[in-house]
């Protein structure tokens, strides 16, 4: 964990705050329902969409099973093409590496293409602490950087901000006094502001969507063109990439270039996709550095069930179909990776105990599994992690754990029909103070969480098995 990370607020608490933000709720609903509809259209038009998903899943599975070999092949190919490959075990190592590379290039400034991986390691903070200015060039990232905030959605990070807020922000920070709040106008202002940055900055920093081991080719998928700027104009390019992004063969891109755009923005193809291999004479950077990042990924790999979370291609389809995410937004997950995938990836990349509320931030409705382009069985992973949370608490456990006690008692009751019926009888009696006209509207203690917003019907006088015995 990078020293710049903030302490984690348990999901239920963070969610409660987010749920009360009407602007966030409205923006999220609009964003997710719009992208959902677009995604549905472009995936349903392909009769072989399910076959593509299965191919994506198999490629990722094969990759993880031979991750060392593919990384070595990638390293060899990139090096042969004139690039330099570095390996970073954790965030601090990666940040030190990148900072040194920027300094070695004689620069005090670097321009960035949006990269979740660099957000994960808090690269911007580390660079700033070392006196290097990191300029975000992706529009939403620029907005939240200028506002001093963090992203709330993988794909549309500034979705929590409305146009009036952005106008006010740009007037304040970009020195453009006559801006309207029309998105076109605001975008133009950003274009003008960044143009000079693109032309003058000598170091670019990016992430990578995919890295082909067979050829040493890196792939960046984008919409705005700032990626193309940062990847081709500066003298030095540094790419920070999670080790799980490697893909075995060039041919495999035929699968991912179909899965990713259709799943993320709901387009047949996104505006710009760039591929490059090492350095190429007369075209683009003269120096290329690839930083391979572990930062907990090898820990995830150790879990034979949990490692499927590494298959993620960061499309955000799961976010857009999740009924929980749609209402709470990304900040409530307390991590760079929010939503369903975040709930299974973050606790594994980090300390499970620190993020033990995330695996429970789901009703297990399964919409994410249906939407995932590489068929990650997120509900299964969530339950698997819940199992690990429980075992972890039991191992530590001296503190009174009410839930564990209740579960143990329930298990004992279920172990014998006699005890079970006794428990049923107790419920019938125990409810009496709380029943009025056949309905319970308020319950005490732990169970209050139910009646805070819902009624509960009274436990009927006769259970099914009692009825069965009386009739037969």
């Amino acid at each position: 964990m990078s020293r710049f990370e903030l302490p984690v607020v348990p999901f239920p608490q963070a969610a409660k705050v987010a749920l009360a933000d009407s602007q966030l709720r409205r923006n999220l609903n609009k964003a997710t329902s719009t992208i959902r509809a677009k995604r549905k259209a472009v995936t349903e038009e392909l009769p072989y969409w399910e076959e593509l998903r299965e191919a994506g899943r198999r490629i990722k599975q094969e990759t993880m099973r031979n991750l060392d070999r593919y990384l070595l092949q990638l390293e060899e190919q990139v090096t042969a093409a004139g690039g330099t490959v570095h390996w970073a075990q954790n965030a601090d190592e990666a940040n030190e590496l990148v900072t040194k590379l920027v300094r070695d290039a004689g620069a005090t400034r670097a321009m960035k293409v949006k990269s979740l991986t660099t957000d994960e390691i808090c690269l911007n903070d580390a660079l700033q602490a070392a006196g290097v200015e990191a300029i975000e060039t992706d529009l939403a990232e620029l907005i939240i950087q200028l506002a001093g905030e963090t992203s709330s959605h993988i794909l549309v990070p500034a979705i929590h901000k409305n146009r009036a807020e952005i106008r006010e922000l740009f007037i304040r920070t970009l020195g453009e006094p006559d801006l309207t709040d029309d998105p076109s106008d605001l975008t133009d202002a950003a274009r003008r502001y960044l143009r000079k940055t693109f032309m003058d900055t000598t170091v670019g920093i990016s992430g990578a969507n995919f890295a082909v081991a067979e050829t040493g080719t890196i792939c960046v998928v984008e919409s705005e063109g700032n990626g193309r700027m940062c990847l081709t104009l500066p003298k030095t390019l540094i790419t920070v990439m999670g080790i799980e992004k490697v893909v075995p063969r060039w041919q495999h891109m035929e699968v991912f270039l179909q899965l990713l755009p259709r799943s993320s923005t709901g387009e047949r193809m996104n505006p710009y996709t760039s591929f490059w291999t090492g350095v190429h004479n007369g075209d683009g950077p003269r120096e290329f550095h690839l930083v391979l990042l572990d930062n907990g990924r090898t820990k995830v790999l150790e879990d034979e069930v949990g490692r499927d979370a590494l298959h993620c291609i960061r499309c955000s389809a799961c976010l857009n179909v999740c009924p929980v995410y749609e209402r709470t937004g990304g900040h409530a997950y307390g991590s760079v990776y929010p939503g369903p995938i975040g709930a299974v990836l973050t606790p594994q990349l980090r300390e499970l105990a620190a993020y033990d509320s995330l695996p429970y931030a789901s009703t297990l409705c399964g919409a994410c599994y249906d939407a995932c382009p590489v068929k990650i069985d997120i509900p299964r992973l969530l339950v698997h992690l819940r199992g690990k949370v429980v075992v972890g608490r039991q191992r530590k456990g001296l503190r009174f754990d009410g839930e564990a006690l209740a579960m143990r008692l329930a298990a004992r009751a279920f172990a014998s029909p006699k005890r079970y019926e006794l428990a049923q009888a107790l419920a019938r009696v125990g409810q009496l103070p709380f029943v009025h006209d056949g309905v319970i509207e308020a319950l005490p203690a732990y169970l209050r969480s139910w009646t805070v917003s819902r009624n509960l019907e009274a436990v009927p006088k006769q259970s099914f098995r009692q009825w069965w015995r009386s009739k037969k």
Binding site: E93, F198, Q251, N270, H280, G284
Partner: protein, 223 residues
């Protein structure tokens, strides 16, 4: 132990690999072996074959969907079409990649021949290029830096990009394109896939066309 060794060691322990192949050549051999029983299997997701003229129709439709302007011309009418396109946009100075066929150009256009410097990028109103191929299914133009395409910055900086697509370069699907591009990739050429002008929906999900990169993309298909 270096970070490299530490990471590789943890990966191997996690996937329970007994032997420790640290040599890249061994790994590469293992990879090509693994590649033979390719995870792709029978590639049951391939699209149905599409006839050339249907392919061109589809390309036009998809390009328009991507908000690119499209025209179809014969080779003899190409120079005139280029002239019309530039006039319509008020383009007077055009950036030209090395090797762009001169007989495709009208007279009267002021040409800036790229010399590889940053300075040559800025004065032009637009850039004209050929392409490596075009994908009908998605309305995508692919550049691989080949003849008439130039270095990547050329088709990025000017505000208008006119791309000439020869009929024979139109492929049906993404898998077709990936296959055709394999040799360029193996040779280390950078690729750019372009599907319309740049766009963003970052502000309230309102789509705005043209952020960085050319705000206007026009395609002429030479049939």
């Amino acid at each position: 132990m270096s970070s490299r060794e530490a990471i590789l060691g943890r990966i191997r322990a996690a996937i329970s690999r007994e032997e420790a192949a640290t040599e890249a050549t061994e790994a590469a051999e293992a990879c090509s072996g693994a590649g033979e029983h390719s995870s792709l299997g029978e590639r049951s997701y391939l699209a149905a074959e599409v006839l050339p003229h249907e392919r061109h129709d589809r390309l036009v439709e998809m390009l328009r969907d991507c908000r690119a302007q499209v025209g179809r011309v014969s080779e003899s009418g190409l120079a005139a079409a280029v002239h019309r396109a530039c006039q319509a946009r008020g383009i007077e100075r055009v950036l030209l990649p090395p090797g762009f066929p001169e007989n495709w150009l009208p007279t009267g256009l002021s040409l800036v021949i790229d010399d590889g410097s940053t300075a040559s990028l800025t004065p032009a109103d637009g850039v004209i290029s050929t392409c490596s191929l075009a994908i009908a299914q998605t309305g995508t133009i692919v550049l691989d830096g080949g003849i008439g395409q130039g270095r990547r910055a050329l088709t990025l900086i000017p505000d208008y990009h006119l791309c000439i697509v020869e009929a024979a370069r139109v492929v049906n699907s993404v898998p077709d394109a990936i296959e055709k591009l394999e040799s360029a990739v193996a040779a280390g050429s950078p690729l750019t896939f372009i599907s319309g002008p740049s766009a963003t929906s970052d502000i309230e999900l309102v789509r705005v066309e043209g952020v960085h990169g050319p705000r206007h993309l026009e395609v002429l298909i030479v049939e």
